[in-house]
Amino acid sequence: MTKHTQSLADNERWLGRVMIAPAIVYIVALVGFPFFLALFYSVSNITVGSTETSFIGLENFRHLLHNRTFLRALRNTFVFAFVSQALVLVLAKTLALSLLKDFRGKWVVRLLILLPWVAPISLGSIGWLWILDSVYSVINWTGRALGIFGPATWPIWLGQPTLAMASIITVHVWRLLPLATVILLGGLTSIPQDIHDAAAVDGAGFWRHNFQITIPLVLPIMLVAMLFGVVFAFTDMIVIYVLTRGGPYDTTQVLASLAFFTGIDGGDLAAGAAIALFLFPVLAVSAILMLRLARRTEVT
């Protein structure tokens, strides 16, 4: 070993810097650089095929505020994010509480719950595409076979705006539920048993136990799960890309999908970047607030 390596290995200050450097390089290269590039694109007139570009200020953002498709996508983004998160939180809490109990075959149930998370999302979404297909929908065929759907009833899950929105929210919830459940389960198992025992001795019922003991104690971890979920819902587009491509007639468009279709498929990189970055300030502030709140409510 050289003298130089020896001194590096013994130098706490430099060793720390060297060891954290790969992570910093990774973040700068794969997150920082694209982010600043997107910032630049959003104030330019760049297209996918252009070799020249010029600065046009906030023109792309100004135009967006008068674009009905964008405004619809903005509204959809909030609906999509908050409805799916509300459902995820309630369902994940219920599942996590159920999985805390001991019962036969618990590991199989845990495995099944985790499957949507470990399977590639594109594959899962394609499965849903077939489940919701206008001709071959297994839901419709089963409904008809069981007599739930009459001869004139044939829901077009992805072709009617309300059903399409409900479909993409359902698939998104199906996808995020395992992660949220595992996070909450981790939080629940970390609560010392003697707190539960003390509450039981004091005669706390299920709801009081739940709202005054369990939820306050897992709140920090719930907020982290919610933060992940909200950021995911605001920035992800795979479910929409595979299932509806923003249709019917742009009614399920969210900011992430609209940014892709405008910037990449449509070739207007500048407008695509402006759409993608539109909510960045809101998201950044929300993330900071939620992390602060999580830290404040942390039980030590």
């Binding site: 996918v48 072709g159 249709g247 007639y249 498929d265």
Partner: protein, 450 residues
């Protein structure tokens, strides 16, 4: 056990091991995986779609390109991707300034003009050897403003009407719908009698884009005029929107709002719709899979509207050679030679791809009139005069950058769908589409591309 000395890893050991590991990980592949030998010749990398006819890819990837490569001292690598990924892949290659030597779009890509070579020389060479290209090819690859050929088209795919002969025969139209009004009236009768609707797409996908343009053009409407001026807002466009609304309300169901590019194939083959606008992929699938419904599906030429009989190409093969391609000369030679061998391509595609240089398949009418697979054997003979009724995206002008952006952002698809379902009035839907088009036009005019 008591003698076992447990060895702890010191920080120094860890750093040493990690350093060796990092070096090995970095250098390993170059030692273990031998580099490709370039000594034998150059490489030609081609990217194109997964063809609707699997046999075509088999022939192109494994036979034609291999033989051509051996003859020309090049290794030809063909990559295939799905239709929906083409634009994203092109954007990635341009952004990286690296990729394939030949990149095939399924529609005109004039928005990439700055990134590609002028393909004029290839057209000239082909014209010298194989005669004139069809007007459809030129209109889909040439920018009259910059006088540049931004692509090269080897072939196009006709877009006839596919109809169920039993259903249409039952409402007194044995030869299928001849006009758009036949489609509405006959389609409504079939829907009422058999519960089977017409299947013309109304969603954000390529087949809808073509069908809506066919309706517009046949009603005398268009997005631009011959000189490339925006003329979308017209009485004729409004009429075509009102027609689509009537067609949807009387003869269709909302399922067309959820379709992707292959949904109409599936719906037709499942017996769920009476009519679709599509390439011969529907009937070919039925023939290849030996589906009984295949004999019941016939094809007919594009429907006539109040002004003219006109349809679109279903897809337009357009190859581009990037300026940053590593083997530009090889790519040019490949295209010229491929046109010379197009008869084989036409047969391998099972009549799906029609030639842009008609002299390369001189017996095309005879071939399509005696197809050994179809029943009746002259099922596809109706395509013999396809060039009389098929036109390009951007008609009556050229497929320019503004037209391409309107197409790829589905402005017209959305306009028609919104009006059809009553989400907007026809006038409001048209006004919104025009506003989107005006912005697109202004952008490309500023760039002096149109």
């Amino acid at each position: 056990m008591g003698n076992t000395k447990r060895r702890t890893i010191s920080r120094r050991d860890f750093i040493k091991a990690a350093g060796i590991g990092a070096v090995a990980a970095g250098a390993g592949p170059t030692i273990i995986i031998p580099r490709r030998s370039y000594g034998a010749g150059k490489t030609l990398k081609i990217l194109q779609w997964n063809h609707f006819v699997p046999g075509y890819d088999k022939w192109f990837n494994n036979t034609y390109t291999k033989e051509w490569g051996a003859k020309n001292g090049m290794e030809v690598i063909v990559d295939n991707i799905g239709l929906a990924g083409i634009n994203a892949r092109a954007a990635a290659e341009v952004s990286a300034q690296k990729g394939h030597d030949l990149f095939m779009f399924l529609w005109p890509p004039p928005d990439f003009e700055d990134q590609v070579i002028d393909h004029k020389e290839i057209y000239q060479e082909c014209e010298k050897k194989y005669g004139k290209p069809i007007d459809l090819a030129v209109k889909s690859t040439y920018n009259p403003k910059t006088k540049k050929y931004y692509g090269f088209s080897d072939s196009y795919v006709p877009d006839p009407i596919n109809y169920r002969k039993d259903l249409w025969g039952d409402v007194g139209m044995v030869k299928g719908p001849d006009t758009w009004d036949d489609m509405r009236v006959g389609g409504a009768k079939i829907k009422k009698k058999h519960g089977i609707p017409v299947g013309v797409g109304l969603s954000a996908e390529i087949d809808t884009g073509m069908a809506m343009r066919a309706i517009m053009y046949s009603h005398g409407a268009s997005v631009q005029d011959e000189e490339g001026n925006l003329v979308l807002n017209s009485k004729q466009t409004l009429e075509s929107i009102k027609f689509v609304k009537a067609l949807f309300e009387e003869a269709m169901t909302p399922e067309v709002l959820a379709w992707d590019a292959s949904s109409n194939n599936r719906a037709m083959l499942a017996g769920k719709v009476s009519t679709v606008l599509n390439a011969i992929s529907v009937t070919r699938t039925a023939e290849n899979e030996k589906m009984p419904i295949g004999d019941n599906i016939l094809v007919t030429k594009a429907a006539k509207g109040p002004v003219r009989r006109i349809g679109l190409e279903h897809v337009m093969d357009v190859y581009v050679i990037w300026k940053f391609a590593e083997n530009i000369e090889g790519a040019k030679k490949f295209l010229v030679d491929y046109i010379g061998n197009f008869q084989k391509g036409f047969l391998a595609s099972e009549f799906y791809n029609f030639p842009c240089f008609p002299k390369t398949v001189p017996d095309i009418n005879k071939l399509i009139a005696h197809d050994p697979k179809s029943n009746p054997p002259d099922k596809y003979a109706v395509l013999s005069d396809v060039l009389d009724w098929a036109t390009n995206v951007g008609y009556p002008g050229y497929a320019n950058a503004a037209i391409a952006e309107v197409f790829s952002t589905w402005v017209l698809n959305t306009m028609f769908a919104k009006a059809a379902v009553g989400a907007e009035t026809p006038e409001a839907a048209l006004a919104q589409a025009e506003a989107a088009c005006k912005r697109i036009w202004a952008k490309w005019q500023e760039r002096k591309m149109i």
